[in-house]
């Protein structure tokens, strides 16, 4: 190492120790992006991160940012690892970060308590802590458009509408970690009230790619329906195993992390008929997606591997994440009258968000998702999901939006939120009038 390099490194190290403010352009909105383009789940993380970045870049190119302020997206790689995620948070929070979308449940849980202290909202889009839907208890956390619990109630509604639930047996195959176990309390509660039987099939993280034992039991017990809370390599394995034991795939429903192109491309034709829940539109036939293609992808400013990857399930979901955040910035700007907003303004923006049908059309996303409307007490938006089916080559949307069973789920969410806060006397809530 020569002297020049050495001194450069030394300066960098010194700058890091003392924490010199790194120059930011005037009038910019800083959006950190915690990505996982490496690690065991990179297959799902890459399209999500692409969609997220491309939408903001498209806004910069097409509209010159939001309200005249450019959006600066800075990626920080977490590899889906909680420790690295916390490190990324610490590294970016002082640069004026407006909101975090942590993506992994572990990182979300670590960031939720920090959000109120550092005054930067956490937007865990449909994942993380379901209880965070209760705005009074979790003023700084948002889970639009819906939670795992509400999603499960939508899926059960679909089953109920297609042959009824009463007296049926529903198999639940799930990744045996916090994420997969989260819907269990609701499932048990609903099984009592709706009169169906539940069979549980946990899949350990280390057995993701070897589920023959679980599917042997499925074959023995023959549940009428199967629901899956899977992730990563678990999904294609499960669909393959289901096909192998000739389980009717049109009675096998995955949640929204178990229904991407990455999952089913590996299965191909034999996965035909498999169902999955989703809340973000599929494909490129939306004006906003077309704008991304013209303004970002065709100019070579996107990181997508090929033009065809734009519009796949996880790409569009990453894009939708950015859409909600961009809309929150827009609302915050209107409310405060400022161009450059703070994390606290962003929180108000997220809380007062209202993406209705008309607004979706304005954004070039007509029919892309259910309307999202937040209030002080509702940080979930009670959005609906639709079901999509794998036709052997691609996903097709097969149902309209299915409203969740809010009347049952909401009290449970409130109970869970109360429980989370109960042993934290210093927890800051908010009052909604």
């Amino acid at each position: 190492m020569n002297l020049k390099k050495l001194s450069c490194t030394a300066i960098a190290a010194a700058a890091m120790v003392v924490g010199l403010p790194i120059a930011q352009a005037e009038d910019s909105l800083f959006m950190p992006s915690l990505t996982y383009r490496t690690g065991p789940f990179a297959g799902g993380g890459t399209p999500f991160a692409d969609g997220y970045a491309d939408y903001f870049n498209m806004l910069n190119e097409r509209d010159g940012g939001i309200g005249g302020a450019k959006i600066v997206v800075e990626e920080c790689e977490t590899a889906y690892n909680t420790q690295k995620g916390v490190e990324c948070y610490e590294a970016t929070k002082d640069k004026g970060a407006l909101a975090y979308s942590p993506l992994s449940t572990g990182i979300t849980l670590a960031l939720i308590p920090k959000a109120s202290v550092d005054e930067i909202p956490v937007f865990s889009m449909g994942y993380g802590l379901s209880a965070a839907a209760i705005g009074e208890k979790f003023p700084w956390t948002f889970v639009y458009p819906t939670t795992y619990w509400n999603q499960l109630s939508s899926i059960l509604k679909y089953i109920d509408a297609n042959g009824g639930l009463d007296g049926k047996k529903v198999g639940f195959i799930y990744l045996d970690v916090g994420y997969g176990k989260e819907p269990l309390p609701l499932l048990e509660k609903l099984s009592a009230s709706l009169g169906f039987e539940v069979a549980k099939y946990p899949v350990g993280v280390k057995e993701m790619q070897n589920q023959s034992a679980q599917w042997l039991n499925v074959r023995k017990e023959r549940p009428d329906w199967m629901i899956m809370w899977g992730w990563g390599a678990m999904n294609p394995t499960a669909v393959k195993e289901a096909a192998k034991i000739r389980y009717p795939l049109d009675r096998f429903i995955g949640n929204w992390w178990a229904g991407s192109h990455n999952d089913l491309n590996a299965v191909g034709k034999s996965g035909k008929g498999y169902l999955a829940a989703n809340f973000s539109g599929i494909g490129q036939d939306f004006p906003a997606v077309q704008d991304i293609l013209t303004h970002v992808v065709d100019k070579g400013n996107s990181k997508v591997a090929s033009r065809d990857d734009v519009g796949n399930v996880l790409y569009n979901r990453g894009m939708f994440n950015a859409v909600v955040l961009a809309e929150a910035i827009h609302v915050a700007q209107q409310k405060t009258g400022k161009t450059v907003i703070t994390g606290a303004d962003m929180r108000d923006g997220l809380e007062n968000i209202n993406i209705d049908e008309a607004r979706l059309k304005e954004l070039g996303l007509e029919g892309f998702s259910a309307p999202v409307k937040g209030t002080c007490s509702d940080h979930e938006g009670a959005g609906a999901v639709f079901l999509q089916q794998w036709n052997g080559e691609d996903w097709e949307k097969i149902t309209d939006l299915i409203e969740p069973d809010n009347d049952t789920v909401r009290p449970l969410l409130e109970e869970a939120a109360e429980k989370y806060v109960s042993d934290k006397p210093d927890w800051q809530g908010q009052t909604c009038s």
């Binding site: 990626e75 002082d94 920090k114 934290k424």
Partner: protein, 360 residues
């Protein structure tokens, strides 16, 4: 030139047996501690304290724990991650059952649970050695991970299945939870690590430490000379697991703020194992060097492109840093198979004889 012990005469046995017999070593350590305790909390940024120094100290403590077992007592273990988990979960249970108990006491108590578990899983070491023992500790790793997932009581039946750190105060100052400043957390960890390192250094050069080293070097000879393998091996497991347990509790309470079972998986066992091997088996300084090498260096490498506003994708940098670290590990192990601590020692030896080295 400066590092020379000429003229330092020792006139008492106490002087001769001091922890650091050479004056320059003592001064150096005092300077390092002064920087760590007085300078860093004032000048360093929050990021440096919370994302570099705190993890570094936590992993250094875990590495000391493993090094006691592997480097000094010669028992191979792959269960470090799980032992850290036992510490973290017992700390969580203790502080939720006794919320008014001083958090420092809770942190130090939680190590005892880990020590107990360590002794149970150390029992096979009386019959088997080496790689075979590694397999039984691997069983501990899997069994304990299984417990952390399945036994709901351990995480108070939280819906998230994770342990969430409540706020605890010390002298009216928040030391855990989101309100605790990085400076407070750093100083507490630093104090605990400094004191525990001192304790380890003294235990290791005393009767107990010597009996561990005798067992490591030749267990039959040690037995013939009066060392009881049962006590020696199990005490090594207990001592080592205690350190790992406290490190795990500190990791969750002072650094991450919440933890799922993934925080204690087999990868962390390997991570700490690499720190011990790179740092140097049988050396406490090596533990700090290993932790710095494995944990701090990648963080610094990742921070270089943004500092210079280079347009490198974060994920690419992640790959590059893996490549660099991997290459450096191979390089250092070829140059000095006994780890960084050995390099450090060789360097000091050379300095002592400089500029007139005699043949070695």
């Amino acid at each position: 030139m400066f590092y020379r012990e000429a003229g330092q005469f020792k006139t008492t046995y106490a002087d001769d047996q001091a922890l650091l017999p050479i004056a320059q070593d003592r001064v150096g350590l005092i300077i390092v501690l002064a920087i760590a305790f007085l300078v860093l909390p004032i000048v360093a940024s929050d990021f440096f304290l919370s994302s570099i120094m705190i993890p570094f100290l936590v992993f250094a403590l875990a590495a000391i724990g493993l090094n006691i077992l592997m480097g000094y007592a010669g028992q191979l273990s792959l269960g470090t991650g799980a032992f850290m988990g036992v510490g973290a979960y017992s700390c969580y249970k203790l502080t939720t059952i006794f919320p008014d108990l001083n958090i420092l006491i809770v942190l130090l108590l939680s190590g005892f649970f880990s020590a107990g578990v360590g002794v149970v899983f150390g029992l096979p070491s009386l019959r088997i050695k080496g790689l075979y023992l590694a397999i039984t500790t691997l069983a501990a790793q899997f069994f304990l991970e299984w417990c952390f997932i399945r036994v709901g009581w351990l995480y108070n039946y939280n819906d998230s299945g994770a342990i969430e750190v409540p706020q605890r105060e010390l002298f009216g100052l928040a030391v855990t939870g989101p309100h605790a400043t990085p400076e407070t957390r750093y100083l507490i960890i630093l104090t605990i690590v400094a004191v525990m390192t001192l304790v380890a250094a003294n235990v290791l050069r005393g009767r107990i430490g010597r009996s561990w080293m005798m067992i490591r070097d030749m267990d039959i000879a040690a037995e013939l000379m009066g060392v009881r393998p049962l006590y020696a091996k199990l005490s090594a497991f207990a001592f080592s697991s205690y350190y790992c347990g406290v490190a795990g509790a500190l990791m969750v309470f002072m650094w991450l703020g919440s933890a799922e079972v993934e925080a204690f998986d087999i990868n962390h066992s390997f991570l700490v194992l690499f720190m011990v091997i790179i740092g140097g088996m049988g050396s406490l300084t090596g533990c700090f060097m290993g932790a710095a090498f494995i944990w701090v260096l990648p963080v610094i490498l990742r921070a270089i492109p943004p500092a210079f506003e280079l347009d490198i994708l974060a994920a690419t940098m992640e790959h590059i840093s893996s490549i660099i670290i991997g290459a450096l590990i191979i390089f250092f192990l070829i140059v000095e198979p006994h780890g960084l601590a050995r390099l450090w020692r060789v360097g000091k030896e050379k300095l002592r004889t400089w500029p007139f080295p005699y043949a070695t």
